[in-house]
Point group: C2
Chain length 402, copies 2
Amino acid sequence: MKTIVKKFGGTSVGSVQRIEAVAQRLKKDVESGQSPVVVVSAMSGETNRLVQLANEINSKSRGSSYDMLLASGEQVSIALLSMALEKQGLKAIPLLAYQLGIETDSIFSKAKIQSVDAEKLKKYVSEGVIPVVAGFQGVYGDQITTLGRGGSDTTAVALAAALGESECEIYTDVPAVFSADPRLVPKARELTKIGSSEMMEMAALGSKVLHFRCVELAAKFGVKIHLRSTFEEREGTWIVPDEGDDMEAPVVSSITHEAMTSVIKVFPTPVGPGFMATLFGRLAEKGVVIDIITQSFNEEGQRLAFSVHGDDVNEAEEILRSVLPSSEVEISVINNMAKLSAVGVGMRTHSGVAGRFFEVLNQINAQLYLVTTSDIKISAVIEQSHLQEAAQALHKEFGLDQ
Amino acid sequence: MKTIVKKFGGTSVGSVQRIEAVAQRLKKDVESGQSPVVVVSAMSGETNRLVQLANEINSKSRGSSYDMLLASGEQVSIALLSMALEKQGLKAIPLLAYQLGIETDSIFSKAKIQSVDAEKLKKYVSEGVIPVVAGFQGVYGDQITTLGRGGSDTTAVALAAALGESECEIYTDVPAVFSADPRLVPKARELTKIGSSEMMEMAALGSKVLHFRCVELAAKFGVKIHLRSTFEEREGTWIVPDEGDDMEAPVVSSITHEAMTSVIKVFPTPVGPGFMATLFGRLAEKGVVIDIITQSFNEEGQRLAFSVHGDDVNEAEEILRSVLPSSEVEISVINNMAKLSAVGVGMRTHSGVAGRFFEVLNQINAQLYLVTTSDIKISAVIEQSHLQEAAQALHKEFGLDQ
């Protein structure tokens, strides 16, 4: 009996019919000799409904009450899936975070898992009981925490790691990871395999397929993630730990984008490290994720520019104004920007990738607002209006079109 | 600062607007020097929605998964009310059963509270924090249990008892307990005070205002219940521990009815105690509540008749047929019956009440199918078609019309 952690997302359990389909699929898995440990998200739409209720009362109230509210969604789906499994003649037990000892740090709404009671899981598995675990939630002391959007993926990998398993299946509503978003680039292809580093870059760069922390955790504990469709039997994409420099690897494996980006420019900024430390500390406290940062200095003064997600731009601007010492500083916010990136471990061993990247953008007259590179990716912030043309051109340039 | 447990039902927290109104009311209470401990039901409609989801999967599956499912409703409402209280500038903490140590027995869906961690509640109250407690739920070991419909009232009384408080406020969508259902008897009056025994009889006899177990628990621990409207400031009805024989008490304080009743007759039944024990044991196992039972014997054989709620009649009949040894026994089911009762502690010290009761029914030609009495109530099962006329006539006969 092979123990495999299997995570089903919100659309996979979005209705009673789909929950029953998941139960039938799990029955087949059991009949084929597997011992599933199941992780489930809230039914699709449920978390949004709860967020909406909370926002109607107080859109700024975040903390233990808010996390308790959101965690109720997974409580419903694990209870229903357990009932559906029992109907299939299987033994199942729904487990909330406190029942399984999924302990996290104290950062509500973005908590990180610290430990899991694997012995309890193993005991159920050895008794032939399918544990059906609430994803997305944890406990800090006796309070309920949540892990942030996509957190159920992280729960699944954390359970696989705690069980000492080398694989984890993540069932979702897309069949695989693509070389680009097919809605943006019609020639995008399915990838059969991708390295953890590339996947982490893709997640960090706006690909919605997998949560960054989930891939990071999988890489850390050597867990292979098999991302596949709930609605098809065939295999999807394997996200595997990096295998060192692979000369055969494509130079660029995917083109990734983040459509809702804003750029904030500040000039002149106070000189010295104190201001930057205060600013970015305050932004982090409020959970505003700063993406690309550039700083430059000439005789006129110091310039700062950075990009943030479009949802966070108002909060970022507010924090900036509260931190800046004088009213003589000019803050400009540029909305309707997009970030476009090329990702590939092959970049490590091939030169000239950046040149080709910039030349493509130059040919379509896309102005570069911010640029950043790492050893396996190049990103540029451009105007949204150029996004689709640029993505398709890069996909072609790097040989990703079929 | 006076600590008062205040319970708000599903309609009181049925929308974000109503939750905010409850928070505003609690703020006034705090400003007037009270320290509230709040108990909340699920938002109205939510429990039904969850039951519906469960029934779509498996209408017979009841147990830990089902109770975990239903308990999610209160998790949502306590989180939202806590956020609304914080918005009012108050400190509040939502508390689930496991966080407050509300321990119950192991009877899922009908669990009874065994103990509550009152010290934790007192600590929050002493720190100026309003505990917002999920009603209806408990824990047995590390599993979630629920207390049955109306269980939030029981939670509230249990908290008051554990805190050593002598009062408990139950806010609902009716302003008071009435001398009869105003929809049936237009001249029904609001009662300012009623004894626990009378209230328990009324609950057992079909009055939906308060859960039987809640009143029973209140009587046991000497807790006075103040039942009042969420939507009005004025006082409602006090349900108070019995004060011994009160010569001043009205002979009858209320006329109560249960409209959906069926009568089942069996003839001839097997003689001897074995059959009755088996039958009523089997009915109890399935949760079918038997109400009035009569048995008679003459040379033709033994006759059995009993009443059940209209919802349970099919299951009761099925069980009867499975238990009866031969096909020669005649089972007759009479539907569309109603049970009408007069309740009053004054009956203890006044004679002739039964005579007056039966005479009223006789005058309107209502045939008596089953009759039962206790020291403080008389009940009769009659045809539904006579119910309204009979209720009004009894209300008048016992001086309850204004």
